[in-house]
Amino acid sequence: MPHSRRQFLTSGSSITLLTLMAASGLLGPEAAAAQWNKGAFESKNMEDLVRTLGGTAPQRSDDIVFVGPEIAENGAVVPVEVASRLPGTDSIALLIEKNPNLLAANFAIPAGTLPEIQTRVKMAETCNVYALVRAQGKFYYTAKEIKVTVGGCGG
């Protein structure tokens, strides 16, 4: 049930920067924007994106397991699941080839968390969905084509 901002501070000893900022009312749109990687979300292709994320030359890998539907009845809600078998995986990103913006989401996986993510994304039209993984400083990806019967971006 809803928690007031005041409750954040009493609920735990070590809290994230995000919750601290939210609690103290410091998190205005500008502050939030500062933490969010605008450049990454504006990248138009995978090479650019990887460069923005501080890497080079992403390699295709069979050690990334991508589970998704073959056909999405509604492109507004496409369930996807990524599991990385690459040792040292510390981030998993989802890229949608023909969306207005390539990057959909980027997850940071701390030590102790399994390198597996399930979520739902919007697809404008039938295209490839990429799972981009960073492991031990290098980038790897796999792709799956998902067919969309009704595009999910423009309502």
Binding site: P69, E70, I71, A72, E73, N74, A76, V77, P79, Q118, R120, T149, V150
Partner: protein, 270 residues
Amino acid sequence: MSKACRHLVRWACVAFTSGLMVSAAAQDDHAVREIQRYRQMLQEANPAELSELRGEDLWRSLRGRNHVSLERCDLGLGPGRLEGAYSRLPRYFADTGKVQDAESRLVTCMMTIQGMTLEEATRDWHSPNSDMEALVTYVAGLSKGYAIDVPLSHPEEARMVAAGEELFFRRSGPLDFGCSSCHSMPGRRIRLQELPNFLDSGSARGAMTQWPAYRVSQGAVWTMERRLIDCIRQMRWPQPEYLSDVVIALEMYLQRQANGGVMQAPGMKR
């Protein structure tokens, strides 16, 4: 070409064509199966659960002129008894002298217990994330696992079911269309959307046990009334009023056809 040769060519053509036809049908089946798989993946977490949470909050909130909650509202099983109530609706209520469904009954309570006007209670009922949407989803969710058991013990109930049945079969409007035009035969589809056959209890149960349902294309939960009113609009009939006898009669007929089906709502639909 010799007779035998022509015969061979004819058989080859038939084989080839039926091969094509089989593969086209197989493709259709494959698409249907894949879409079912897609729907299955979405069952894991239905955004309708969020509407249930909001609905519970509204149920308990002190609202209206009388500044009280809905917790004494009687949905047919006694004041405040919600488990299984939705599965026994629509039904006759002595205090209003009418057959009512979950939505109209909630509105009765909002007006009589909480002191709201009809306008206040039904404000924006058709808008995504409306109060009515949340309340009905919450109430329906509390019938999950219960069998649909719409009664036929009061003359008014019989009258409404009969009216609903007549409405189901009546063809009207500029398209000379009725519910039965699409929903009274097995195996019907509009593009990839399967159409329930309400004359078959299995198919009727499959449909009615899923409503209210989160409609992915709308990003909102639609109640059965909302769905029926929209169907009627799509048939180019005049749109009935929210909570009117027309909608409740049709709803009651369809629920009766689905008697025995185990409620799974809120469901998830395209």
